[in-house]
């Protein structure tokens, strides 16, 4: 599974990577350290021409320069990108951030776990739900191809 992690904090990047290392399915995490980079990767611009389309996007809200909310807005306004589930991953519990994210069609809002063990558990649950339980747009086509005569 391809994950795009939009996160500026180096420590958090390492912790999220380590948390997903323990999950069952192999995941590849691409990191964008700011919103601009995230959009370049998603649009496969310049040096990112060969970037994989992520199955899921983990998006921090508190980013340098361009905010996570504005990145979310752009993704959800783009017909080519808006089907990719965006999970907000933030330390904020502020109501304006939660409501603001769902108003802009975030698929889930997750508060960053405080303990590493809880973060691992969160990674496991994300994997179980988003990578196993849920059918994502790409998966539907693949399944139909196999079943239909």
């Amino acid at each position: 599974m391809e994950i795009l992690l939009v996160e500026d904090n180096r420590g958090d990047v390492i912790l999220v990577r380590k948390a997903f290392e323990a999950t069952r399915q192999a995941t590849r995490i691409t990191v964008a350290r700011n919103g601009h980079k995230a959009m370049q990767i998603l649009h496969r611009e310049g040096e990112y021409a060969n970037a994989a389309v992520p199955d899921i996007i983990l998006l921090d809200l508190n980013l340098p320069k361009r905010s996570g909310i504005s990145v979310l807005e752009e993704i959800k306004a783009d017909p080519a990108l808006r089907r990719i589930p965006v999970l907000i991953l933030t330390s904020s519990r502020a109501e304006k951030d939660i409501i603001g994210s769902y108003d802009r069609h975030a698929n889930a809002y997750v508060v960053k776990a405080r303990e590493f063990e809880t973060l691992q558990d969160m990674a496991k649950k994300i994997e179980e739900f988003w990578f196993s339980q849920v059918l994502l747009p790409g998966a539907i086509e693949a399944k139909n191809d196999g079943v239909e005569p």
Binding site: G11, D12, E115, F116
Partner: protein
Amino acid sequence: MKDAAPVVIAELALAEEFSDFAYSVSHDLWGPAQAVVAFTRLLKSEQSGAFSEDGQLYFSLIVDNGRKLQEMLDGLLLYSRLNTIARSICEIDCNAVLARCWTQLESENKLLNAALDAADLPRIRADPARISQLFYHLIDNALKFRDPEKPVLVGVSVTTGQKEFLFTVRDDGIGIEQEFHDDIFRIFRKLHADEEYPGRGVGLALARKIVTQHGGRIWVKSAPSQGSMFQFTLPVIAGSDV
């Protein structure tokens, strides 16, 4: 007093700036403290063989103090939220608030034989989240500083005056020396080592802030080994904003 109004406005702006500042400090400092704790724990679990017994002790001290810092920031955040989040006043049944706090604290403290002696409490007009916090911290305090030699009994009563309610929360706990009766309401002020009584010294500071925000006063009557009696007033009609 021609200058009075601008001075008041300047003071209000300063208060607002300070509350924003306290909120940012407590919220934004959390991340770095979190990173210190998380990576020290990872280092300890992944490479503990490389460190001596002293080294292991230093790990524990870094983690313990990092957590302590986080808990203090949590406390500061709660405190500053009382300034940044507006009060929403409605009618509250204090009996229900007290019952909820008691149930929650009884199970948190795993107290099997704690008894609550609650009088019939009035309905008041106040901010429900804050009043709940107020009762929670006063009851928490009464349970935490219990006398291990005595059965735990917490009493809550009220006297209704013309203009204000006088609430009393009393316990048979270890009590407090007179000289600290004001001190205990200051944030982070503790009278015991962490090993004796855990906690960050935030609860009573929150309680005082909440009472004064509702136009009331709070104080304690207590002596060592004599239990404590916390009393606070709340106006019968929701008071002017602070």
